[in-house]
Amino acid sequence: MDQVRGLGHFALFTGQSLSAVLATRRLWTRVARAIYEQGFRCLPVILIVGTFTGLVLGLQGYYVLNRFGSEALLGVLVSLSLVREMAPVLAALMLVGQAGSALAAELGIQRNSEQIAALDTMGISSCGYLVTPRLLAALFVFPAQTALFVAVGLWGGSLSGSLLLGVDPGVYWASVQRAVESEDVRECLLKAVTFGLLTISICAYQGFHAHRIRGATGARAVSAATTKAVVLSSIAVLAADYVITSFLI
């Protein structure tokens, strides 16, 4: 019963934040700030994790394909696993870890110090001011981070596959080109956008309503809200991934 109400409240919160796009003034400076938080600040983690994912895919893929004498297909394996699954999911999880947790904690503290109530009493829509720009930024940032993840992942795969294990780079890149269809790219970007909206709205919701956490107030409520935000967003990413994949295959 409470769960159902919570879900409805969350849906209303997200809808309200999205519909506040029209009513909020000077939205774009706030969106720029959100792109900085979700984009630029998270670049290192995306680039590092992307490179290592590509490296390990190249390594694992090589040893599996080597048994069948089909090392030439390494590019296919690396690129399809990256584009279809690894990049959207891992990039979203990394962004939850860095930007999502920060968002939940920031909103939780703002709730705690009555900054959100202050916005409301000023006649400023607190959703519109705090949440809407983050959601708009996520619409661009998540696909962009995912694309970056794919790019460095492919490069990582070529590093371990060609440089260390001796697959011809030409063969590798040709099979990458051949394997990825525009449908795969569409699936990848659709996943990225969905994960972005889901995780950012979950994290914002948890932080925004940190005062509703039962049995905890103040700093403990903020920490509980942040934990909940990260756990729920991660679950949501993997569940949504399964649903989207099963629809598109």
């Binding site: 089909s70 940032v141 051949r178 525009s182 970007l189």
Partner: protein, 166 residues
């Protein structure tokens, strides 16, 4: 104000990088179908497509010139009709031959085009009449095992000569 400049710089860097990566993903990897829409359709009838899938490449002299758009069954004579989109600007004679080939031993299937010598050219939605179905590895092996490869594949003397005699 230093803080604002840092923010603007960060956003700028990220937007540039992000857009570059998105362009790379959609255009370079996504096979450029989103922009390269100036193609024309061509059909070909095959007795057996043998594992060809939509999105497979169409090659001419080893160069990619198009993609397989759709594969459907003609219910009248139970043959498969493969619809392809060929880069416009590439004119094909009417006696072009289409064959389904495999890259490597177990690699992807693709359609190979071999242009003929006819003066007339294939128009949009025209059908290629000369086709060669997919060469199925299993049937080839079984034929080799029973020694009938020589009759079927008389152009390929080398593989026939290595076939063991029963």
């Amino acid at each position: 104000m230093n803080r604002d400049k840092k923010l603007e710089f960060g956003v700028g860097v990220f937007v540039l990088l992000g857009l570059a990566a998105l362009v790379y993903l959609t255009l370079k990897l996504g096979a450029g179908e989103l922009v390269g829409s100036d193609t024309y359709p061509v059909e070909a009838r095959f007795a057996n497509t043998g594992g060809l899938s939509t999105g497979a490449t169409v090659m001419l002299a080893g160069v990619t010139v198009g993609r397989v758009d759709a594969i459907r069954l003609d219910p009248e004579d139970y043959s498969a009709i493969v619809e392809m989109r060929i880069r416009s600007g590439l004119a094909l004679p009417t006696d072009t031959m289409a064959s389904i080939k495999t890259s490597g031993l177990i690699g992807d299937k693709f359609v190979a085009l071999a242009p003929g010598a006819d003066e007339e050219l294939l128009g949009p939605s025209a059908r290629i009449t000369m086709t060669e179905s997919a060469l199925e590895l299993e049937s080839l092996i079984s034929k080799m095992a029973f020694g009938s490869v020589k009759n079927e594949q008389n152009g390929d003397q080398e593989s026939a000569s290595t076939a063991p005699e029963p």
